[in-house]
């Protein structure tokens, strides 16, 4: 087997994975709060055919040995957490984050936490008739009250949800006479975004076995940072079609070139076979 063939094969499968990633980004172009993933490439281990001292002829520029590379691989996908554009919806349960932060939600009865950038929340009635604010999949949003206790965001029956730019949550009665403080939205800042794993439903979780406090930290909107909450708005995905199409073209052309190298290597093998026609 000649190494051109293995090399071209590795390269084509790496390009295929890149195409898959771009396809995922493009497919989620209109997903609220979606963050695009990027990946770059890295060449594979190089083998060195050793040469003895007699190869050190005059005019040689490099150290002894002839190096042969074995192709390329796609590196781990990295999250691009840059800001998406804000679109007004005027739905009180739509919250958008401006700045570098994520919402925290509870995904099961044990209180397991996940993080999301998507603020397209829903109102769900619980058995008392109160409104629980959840993600479309039913995961409640976490708020923190004055005392620092974390609990699901529940708006009493007959009250309307109000969220200000600093993430303070309150409930206003229908006649406007009563205002109840419900605490502040719990927001986290991903400090090590590479340790966050994107799971389904636009959620991120901290990888098992990794210290949660090392990956994320609490952040509260205040004058010292630029994190703000906008009620009645969506954050669009940060996928830009032009960027994705450019990347798509480059990956496709690289794939084509590798396919050419493969067919050329095939021709060489056929020539070797026909030596004694």
């Amino acid at each position: 087997m000649n190494s051109s063939m293995i090399n071209a094969l590795m390269s084509m499968s790496a390009m295929q994975r890149k195409l898959d990633l771009i396809a995922d980004n493009i497919a989620n172009m209109n997903t609220v709060g979606f963050k695009r993933k990027t990946a770059s490439f890295e060449d594979l281990l190089t083998t060195i055919k050793q040469q003895d001292g007699r190869f050190a002829q005059e005019g040689r520029k490099t150290p002894l040995g002839f190096t042969i590379g074995w192709g390329v691989r796609m590196t781990q996908a990295q999250l691009d957490l840059s800001q998406g554009s804000i679109q007004r919806t005027d739905n009180p349960y739509d919250l958008a984050i401006q700045g570098y932060a994520l919402f925290e939600v509870i995904t099961d009865d044990q209180g397991t936490r996940a993080y999301t950038r998507s603020g397209a929340f829903r109102a769900q009635l619980n058995e008392d008739g109160d409104v629980v604010v959840t993600t479309p999949e039913g995961h409640p949003v976490v708020v923190r009250d004055e005392g620092g206790a974390e609990e699901p965001l529940i708006v009493p029956a007959g009250y309307a949800l109000q969220v200000d730019a600093m993430g303070r949550v309150s409930a206003l009665s229908a006649d406007g006479s009563d205002l109840q403080e419900l605490g502040r939205l719990k927001l986290v800042e991903p400090v090590r975004p590479d340790a966050l794993q994107a799971v389904s439903d636009n959620l991120f979780v901290v990888l098992a076995g990794v210290d949660v406090d090392a990956v994320i930290r609490d952040v509260q909107p205040d004058m010292g940072n630029s994190v703000r909450i906008i009620q009645g708005a969506h954050e669009q995905s940060n996928v830009k079609l032009e960027t994705e199409m450019t990347e798509l073209l480059m990956a496709q052309r690289a794939y084509q070139l590798s396919a050419r190298a493969l067919s050329s290597a095939d021709t060489m093998m056929s020539l070797a076979n026909q030596l004694r026609a």
Partner: protein
């Protein structure tokens, strides 16, 4: 035996090596910091042929002949790749144009002085430490912060700071808050120094670097004195949010690919012609 048969076979093997090298360049068309490799051939040692054994005549000199070729060295071309904007704060690109006093380099990074000595342009590299604790050099600045706060490359090698230790940031500091200053210090979002400074190593003759894969180069022990930490006044800069594109020229690679294939084919034809001559000699000479 026909001498040229082996010459042509050697030619086929050498073209195969060339083809392998070009294929690897094509594979790494989109690899940040990748440096194009050229396979350089060398002819077999020269022989002098004499015609001897003719009665009454002195031995006659026929001439010199090389009986083959082999791929001798793989030469990395260390010219600058284009920077491109990725917007990720964990991406870094080195733009370097290091100068040697009194020497004017051409675009391939080479200069020849009055005495005919060739001088190669020094190049700047990120300094990393692989899992075995050895020092390696790379131009691929696609880094990330791992969960322990170390700045690492894609395959988990540590990026070194000017104190020759892996760069580590305390818990609570993320890459989004870090900015690389012009003198390669990392400052946080308030402009306060984090104490980490990126170590850039200058290699005086980059041809002596051995390509190791995973974007990394190493220096053999005998060449260790070619590396020095970058100093003030070296002409290079490190840009955050950019990566250095591979310096492989796709059009050139395609031409090289075709030329290697056709040269391989020509050598194959030569072998076939020798084979036909042998066929004649064996089966037809002396036929009655």
């Amino acid at each position: 035996m026909l001498r040229g048969l082996y010459t042509a076979a050697a030619g086929m093997i050498a073209q195969q090596r060339r083809h392998d090298t070009v294929t690897n360049n094509i594979s790494n068309l989109n690899t940040p910091g990748y440096k194009q490799v050229t396979a350089v051939g060398r002819s077999f040692p020269e022989m002098l042929l004499h015609l001897t054994g003719i009665e009454g005549e002195k031995p006659k000199r026929i001439g010199r002949v090389n009986t083959g070729v082999f791929a001798e060295e793989s030469l990395s071309v260390h010219i600058q790749g284009d920077p491109y904007l990725t917007g990720l704060r964990s991406d870094f690109a080195i733009m370097s144009d290091l100068q040697v006093p009194g020497v004017q380099f051409d675009s391939s990074g080479k200069a020849i002085d009055e005495d005919g000595n060739v001088i190669y342009q020094p190049q700047a590299f990120f300094t990393v430490q692989n899992p075995d604790g050895e020092i390696r050099y790379t131009r691929n600045g696609s880094f990330m912060l791992n969960s322990e706060g170390y700045l690492v490359t894609n395959d988990g090698s540590f990026v070194l700071g000017t104190d020759n230790n892996p760069i580590q940031f305390p818990q609570g500091i993320g890459i989004e808050q870090l900015t690389l200053t012009g003198d390669l210090r990392f400052v946080d979002s308030n402009g306060a120094d984090t104490g980490a400074q990126l170590l850039i190593t200058v290699i005086d003759n980059p041809n002596r670097l051995v390509q190791e894969g995973y974007g990394k180069f190493r220096l053999n022990d005998e060449d260790a004195d070619l590396a020095r930490p970058a100093v003030d006044g070296d002409r290079f800069e490190v840009r955050q949010g950019y990566l250095e594109r591979s310096n492989v020229d796709a059009a050139q690679a395609m031409v090289d690919l075709i030329s290697a294939l056709r040269a391989y084919e020509s050598n194959q034809k030569v072998i076939q012609f020798y084979d036909q001559s042998l066929n004649k000699a064996v089966n037809e000479v002396g036929k009655v």
